[in-house]
Symmetry: D2
Subunit: 398 residues, 4 copies
Amino acid sequence: MTVGVWIIGARGNVASVSMTGARAIARGVADTTGMVTAREPVAALDLPAVDDLVFGGHDIRSQRIEETAEEMAGHGGVVAPDTLDAVREDLREIDERVELGTARRCGEAVEGMSSETTGEDVSVADIVEEIRADYAAFADSQGVDRLVVVNAASTEPPIPTPGDYDTLAAFETAVERDDPNLPASALYAYAALLDGHPYVNFTPSTGSSLGGLRELAERNEVPHMGRDGKTGETLMKSALGPMFAGRNLRVLSWEGHNILGNSDGLVLEDDANKAGKIESKGSLLDDILGYETHNAVRIDYTPSLGDWKTAWDHVHFEGFLGTEMKMQFTWEGADSALAAPLVLDLVRLAALADERGEGGTMSHLASFFKSPEGVDRHELSEQFRLLYDYAERHAEGA
Amino acid sequence: MTVGVWIIGARGNVASVSMTGARAIARGVADTTGMVTAREPVAALDLPAVDDLVFGGHDIRSQRIEETAEEMAGHGGVVAPDTLDAVREDLREIDERVELGTARRCGEAVEGMSSETTGEDVSVADIVEEIRADYAAFADSQGVDRLVVVNAASTEPPIPTPGDYDTLAAFETAVERDDPNLPASALYAYAALLDGHPYVNFTPSTGSSLGGLRELAERNEVPHMGRDGKTGETLMKSALGPMFAGRNLRVLSWEGHNILGNSDGLVLEDDANKAGKIESKGSLLDDILGYETHNAVRIDYTPSLGDWKTAWDHVHFEGFLGTEMKMQFTWEGADSALAAPLVLDLVRLAALADERGEGGTMSHLASFFKSPEGVDRHELSEQFRLLYDYAERHAEGA
Amino acid sequence: MTVGVWIIGARGNVASVSMTGARAIARGVADTTGMVTAREPVAALDLPAVDDLVFGGHDIRSQRIEETAEEMAGHGGVVAPDTLDAVREDLREIDERVELGTARRCGEAVEGMSSETTGEDVSVADIVEEIRADYAAFADSQGVDRLVVVNAASTEPPIPTPGDYDTLAAFETAVERDDPNLPASALYAYAALLDGHPYVNFTPSTGSSLGGLRELAERNEVPHMGRDGKTGETLMKSALGPMFAGRNLRVLSWEGHNILGNSDGLVLEDDANKAGKIESKGSLLDDILGYETHNAVRIDYTPSLGDWKTAWDHVHFEGFLGTEMKMQFTWEGADSALAAPLVLDLVRLAALADERGEGGTMSHLASFFKSPEGVDRHELSEQFRLLYDYAERHAEGA
Amino acid sequence: MTVGVWIIGARGNVASVSMTGARAIARGVADTTGMVTAREPVAALDLPAVDDLVFGGHDIRSQRIEETAEEMAGHGGVVAPDTLDAVREDLREIDERVELGTARRCGEAVEGMSSETTGEDVSVADIVEEIRADYAAFADSQGVDRLVVVNAASTEPPIPTPGDYDTLAAFETAVERDDPNLPASALYAYAALLDGHPYVNFTPSTGSSLGGLRELAERNEVPHMGRDGKTGETLMKSALGPMFAGRNLRVLSWEGHNILGNSDGLVLEDDANKAGKIESKGSLLDDILGYETHNAVRIDYTPSLGDWKTAWDHVHFEGFLGTEMKMQFTWEGADSALAAPLVLDLVRLAALADERGEGGTMSHLASFFKSPEGVDRHELSEQFRLLYDYAERHAEGA
Ligand SMILES: NC(=O)c1ccc[n+]([C@@H]2O[C@H](COP(=O)([O-])OP(=O)(O)OC[C@H]3O[C@@H](n4cnc5c(N)ncnc54)[C@H](O)[C@@H]3O)[C@@H](O)[C@H]2O)c1
Ligand SMILES: NC(=O)c1ccc[n+]([C@@H]2O[C@H](COP(=O)([O-])OP(=O)(O)OC[C@H]3O[C@@H](n4cnc5c(N)ncnc54)[C@H](O)[C@@H]3O)[C@@H](O)[C@H]2O)c1
Ligand SMILES: NC(=O)c1ccc[n+]([C@@H]2O[C@H](COP(=O)([O-])OP(=O)(O)OC[C@H]3O[C@@H](n4cnc5c(N)ncnc54)[C@H](O)[C@@H]3O)[C@@H](O)[C@H]2O)c1
Ligand SMILES: NC(=O)c1ccc[n+]([C@@H]2O[C@H](COP(=O)([O-])OP(=O)(O)OC[C@H]3O[C@@H](n4cnc5c(N)ncnc54)[C@H](O)[C@@H]3O)[C@@H](O)[C@H]2O)c1
Ligand code: NA
Ligand code: NA
């Protein structure tokens, strides 16, 4: 059973490291450390093998996947040179299947990256048709049983009024009317859900997080989930927040300072695009603590660090008899090495949900996201519990 | 319904801050921040009010509770001066009810602290009788409905062969034979369980953690639990360990360095006594991760820091494609301010369990301890779940 | 020999803690830890005794010095309650000598703080005369031998074109023409230098850092120095920068994140005012390293921290064979407790320079400032060397 | 002018990375970042070019230099693979010139490393002759103008009574009497100084730090210096100590925790060997501060970290009005990448001193060492000043 994986942003860091890793695993030169679906109880599920994943995608830049992977191998040592050499051929083949995407309403920082893209003079409806055609051509040419669409493209600015697209009818009217506010990520999602392809949004961009697209997914019984992969600082907050709450230690302030130097970091220098990322990092803590507190997150582009994101968090809290205490942590992780295995996990789990006809939002995938659709519990343990319960349910009733 | 609270180590930091806090809450000059039982869903239980707790205890030093509380107010500012002033009278009254304890087999560091103690020339059986008499005299004189015994005495060296006391019969034979290995903490526990007093062991010392005493507790249907309160570094490990495990991030080494300057820190300078503390901090991570890894903990006495324990932990882990990453945290907390509210929580919950006739180990209290008796799950979320399920069960079936 | 100390911003944190400390030392309830002039070789100089300093000043708020000192005692414990009690009387006397200042062109954040201030409808020349009169009245009423004026007022926004006041003539024409760009700090400085009072600028505001005022100081042989006291992160940079330079370790990026919650922090929330502080923190590193590098400083107002400024710095550097390495530090200091003793040092040293007729910029005070006037060496050791050479020169030629 | 460089411990990490770097610079595939002698004002000296350094040495292990360099390239990425490839030939040639050393009295940890070594059944005098012969054979075979001997061998345990060798006569008598306490490092040094070869001791071992050998160096006018290269935590202490002292901030405790996983770290697991390292790290702070304070250093072997030494230091200090504050830093550096360039610097500077007939201890090299011979100033700036003054003196009087 081969599963097609169509990555929006195929030539970016997360996509390139995901595909490099998948092919390295398939060629026996890398293990599955970092993959949630490689560990019990999730590993017990009847998931498509990593070896059987066939990749393609959209991008708006011409830098090839192999070049992106070389940057990853050179600078931070995220990909070992001999691991890369073992899969260069595969990456070149995948690259040939990458189609030019649309950068519609992605903000100046993103538009500045692409040589030329569809979308400027083409109607929204035509863009959607082109995307659907690209998906279909890939699925047919590769003879895949199922196609999963993953958004790992650059972060778009948040759209001003998501409420305008609360129903499928409203969304489709906007498509017909060439609504200027419809961002590329929503069009990629719409095209996927129209043709029954499961959709996963690893970015903070809009994607399928609109009422109209949720309605479409339910109607077509297509599984989808988003948004914004949880890899570093927010993952730590979702693990540590419940400790302060559970021991009734009052958080007085939680300050976070992120420095990174990869292209995602450069895009986030543009305040408009950054707004999307900061928003999805924000409210999580207030939900876990059950009260509002001073909770600021800064992201600063620091070129020298490349993919190595360093997050410093300083938590000032009050305990018994007003005693004020502090906890600080520094997270030093390679962003793409943390994100890539999660993309493979999400593809395998989405393919299984599709195979079992489980349409709509995949709440059991909450632990993978900073802002999980339709799930209001943000404790990492609670989110892991949703995944383990799903795995245990499905493992028995195989 | 008044509940007597008999604290072993009544004049120490943890005990003094617990009692100062309880009386400050009763006199309306402090709130319950830091108390687990003051927060939903546990607060919904029908627990004895903090105001109704009546304190007494054993100690082997003469420094009065008020003097210990003054040290806490002066140096690190754990107790605000006006909070202390509001309860000086109460602390003096409690102090009059403190009896001389036994420092039998507590190691040189502890024996060096006490002027004169019972136990040297007195038989083990007589020591037990004296302890029982002290408990009874206090319960009668204060007309309490229930007496809870809490061990917050200095850390004893671990006993060489706990297996020797696997049955009540074996334990009672050892008492009769003046077994030299029976430590003070086990005698205090034995005396409590004999007369049906719930027993809580906040220290890493032996206490009731012997087969024979577990058998006694079951036979007399007396609730008991231990051991070693979880307040700082180990609390963080139990919250963060599951994050690395859940994301299949392989921990290569977890190094911890604790510096503190209070009397507990001084006692732990003695390698024999330290062994008890290190042992109970140790195996927790291997259980959570599911594999053995390099996991070292150091404790260094640093006088200038007083009660302010600073723990630096350095976690080196491997992710996807062998990428090595790091997370470091520094925990800066006032040990006694973290421990004190938990002692009050444990007393209230033990009193409830006793009132409901729930004898034996109180597994729902696992989250309070580094080495929870009879509970093999070390994830903080799992342990909180045991407490919340207990609370929800009891809240309904009131 | 009594020395008058006139502090601009007399009711602020730095001023209040300086005066509380001076009077506590005079009354024998505090030692001189933290004072540079209390340590060899500087202590060998014939400096005015702290006991002989007589305080007065300007402010634009009505909150009394005693109240500010109480905030300092309460929250962070910077001033011990009994130290404060010993000097309450002195602080009340000083408070009576505080005159209403001018908040001319200090930016909205500052203007928002003052009830009513001179300056709105009064000509610049008249403001200057009022300030001169206030200085003179204080000097006469207290019978001081010498009056030192210190600026510890809130940070002003930088003025757009300091070059407009390059000569004394140009400055005095601007005064006559009610130049709207002349900020309060320049008027306080001008008034001091006109009447021969040594002037010290502890803030990043303009103060005497204008060509015209340097000319006036030289002409009237009045010692002056500034600007922006060096107390935390910048102090560390000036100590650590030379280590990276001296070992030819190439700094790739130096990121600093400051969080603080005192009123200075609130003022710095206003980007205009913050610009002044950031600018003076900026270029220092490039001078020490001898090349430009990625060097960003953030300041975030975090109310819960009060006076306790925490600075996290992350230094990414390259060594032999391109090996990339990192050094991080966290500085946790009480801003006012660090600044206050330096104000007393600067007053004593300015008084000595004045007594010895050493007019113009006091380059030997470079180590006290982030942007020392007329000194281009930023290594802390070089700046200490200037001070120690001055002390050794003067100690011999007594 | 070719300079022979004979490294004791030639196949270790520091030596291998030094030689790999020197050859990479000579072959134009690496720059001189990290080398003190490549930066003004030291670069102005007429030093032997790195290209002209010819390497040989002693070791007691058989693992070849190329294998050690491969470990460095693989694990931490200290040597880039293509840099290593460019110099493999050179490393193989050097390896052929490595002679078997003596592991006399180097402690079990070291003796365990060597297959078989000279010294067990050979008299001390014969060992010295063999070493002298090895030096001479190398110098002749390579036709070098000058031979510098550098000790980069594993840390030896400190010798019990260094005072026994206070004069050359006493030392030479001990040699004749096969004194069991004479360690290998002293014999290597003695052999060098006898034949006029400048000697540098980069390790904490005894080396030439004996009265008798200082006398020999003076008599033969041979430059020598030691001991224990200053690369990480101690370098930071020597830069930050003077900041606390200069601002009269009283250090209450300075705790250091070092974790590393290279072979040096393994040797230091043996308390005897560790004693040497800890001792040389110890007294430096008390000298800089001018008073004794709580100053503890721990070193823990953490295999997963390899050459990447992480040092966490926690400084608790008191400022004005008894205000207690804290500064923490984490140094994350590749030990060998920090040490290697300093070895090249020391060789070039020792060769120049020898060429100029400057016999005895080279005090101008103090900044390179944790315990610089004959220099009692430990401030890094003071030590850099000695080097810069030497460079300026020699640059003029060329
Ligand atoms: N790395 C992580 O830990 C992490 C975590 C959570 C979320 N994310 C998100 O994942 C996304 C990718 O991150 P990255 O580091 O790979 O960024 P990247 O900049 O390396 O890659 C993004 C790729 O998307 C392409 N792209 C941009 N707009 C496009 C469009 N409209 N259509 C098709 N392609 C487009 C770009 O050309 C680029 O190749 C970002 O949105 C990021 O915020 C990353
Ligand atoms: N503070 C924390 O965060 C924390 C966390 C977990 C466990 N603990 C444990 O709690 C205990 C108390 O800690 P502390 O900081 O209050 O120590 P402490 O030294 O301040 O107090 C211990 C008290 O016990 C008394 N004592 C010793 N032996 C005794 C005996 N045989 N009988 C009666 N009294 C005796 C001592 O005289 C002293 O007054 C220690 O075992 C410690 O390891 C503390
Ligand atoms: N604390 C430190 O470590 C430190 C270090 C370097 C520089 N500084 C500078 O010192 C200054 C004072 O810091 P702080 O913490 O005391 O601030 P603060 O806000 O506590 O005190 C400033 C005082 O100045 C008064 N003021 C404002 N404008 C005035 C004017 N025009 N005339 C007279 N009074 C005026 C305010 O009313 C307030 O009382 C700031 O500029 C700060 O940036 C402080
Ligand atoms: N790396 C640093 O930052 C640093 C800093 C200061 C001091 N040092 C010191 O430098 C020395 C070398 O460090 P390393 O990391 O290269 O250690 P290493 O263990 O990698 O290398 C030491 C080499 O010395 C050899 N050796 C041991 N005893 C010998 C003897 N008697 N004769 C000849 N060879 C012998 C060993 O076989 C090994 O090859 C150690 O003493 C270390 O403490 C290192
Ligand atoms: Na603890
Ligand atoms: Na500062």
